[in-house]
């Protein structure tokens, strides 16, 4: 089997969709799972690579928003403290997600490379 280059993962051409979790029986209670499931229609990606690219782009945007908000706060503009704090946290969590995805992908690739052909 030919070596797999990192640019074209083995799962090419698969539609990558977000899992749809079953709706909670009592919607007024609300849960995190429901939050993830109910936010809009599932986004589809043609290539797995697009998932990563999108994630990186969104993380970068979150970091930028956080930087701007904090900068505005420090510059004395009328930014409520909580907005700066929340923006920072969202950027951090996005980054953590991106990092974790990257780590798992790397692990997966390395495991793949270790496989006897």
């Amino acid at each position: 089997m030919s070596p797999i280059s990192p640019a074209t993962p083995a799962i090419v051409g698969t539609e990558w969709t977000r899992p749809i979790l079953p709706k909670v029986a009592n919607p007024s209670v609300g849960s995190d799972l429901e939050g993830i499931a109910a936010s809009g229609s599932p986004q589809t990606y043609a290539r797995f690579g697009d998932v990563l690219t999108d994630l990186i782009r969104q993380t970068d945007q979150a970091q930028r928003v956080s930087g701007e908000t904090t900068g505005a706060l420090l510059a004395g503009q009328n930014v409520p403290v909580h907005q700066a704090m929340i923006a920072g946290e969202e950027a951090s969590v996005s980054f953590q997600l991106m990092l974790e995805v990257r780590n798992r992908l790397l692990e997966g690739y390395q495991e793949l490379m270790r496989m006897q052909v």
């Binding site: 609300g30 999108d54 969104q58 993380t59 909580h82 969590v93 953590q96 974790e100």
Partner: protein
């Protein structure tokens, strides 16, 4: 993908709720500072904001929250407490201050809870 992380109705509502808490604090501050200003009419965050927020949560509709912005406006229904037309009632204002503090705390807890659960989900480890 980040809409999945931060697009849930409770989380978005908590963020809007926090914005409103800060505005309510400023309204109470203005009212108490002008406790004895003749002709001063008390200000507040209109009830419509709270109603719209609750409605959006009931309908599980985060999108409708995006445009909602809490503002401070004159309270048209307040009655004059003194002959000069001042409509501020100190007890009411102080009570509103206390309730606002608790509501603020609630929203912060909701947001913190969300963040820690997300981190736990991402890392596969609690805390």
């Amino acid at each position: 993908m980040t809409e999945a992380l931060f697009g849930g109705i409770n989380y978005v509502a908590a963020k809007k709720g926090l914005d409103a808490c800060v505005e309510r604090q400023r309204a109470s501050a203005a009212n108490i500072a002008n406790l004895e200003t003749p002709g001063y009419r008390r200000v507040h965050v209109p009830r419509e904001f709270q109603q719209s927020l609750r409605e959006a949560v009931r309908r599980q509709d985060p999108a409708s929250l995006a445009g909602l912005r809490p503002g401070v406006a004159v309270d048209g229904s307040a009655v004059a407490r003194t002959p000069d037309g001042n409509t501020v009632n100190l007890t009411d204002e102080l009570m509103a201050l206390q309730e606002n503090g608790v509501e603020h705390s609630l929203h912060v807890q909701l947001i913190n809870g969300r963040m820690s659960r997300l981190r736990a989900a991402i890392s596969g480890r609690m805390s």
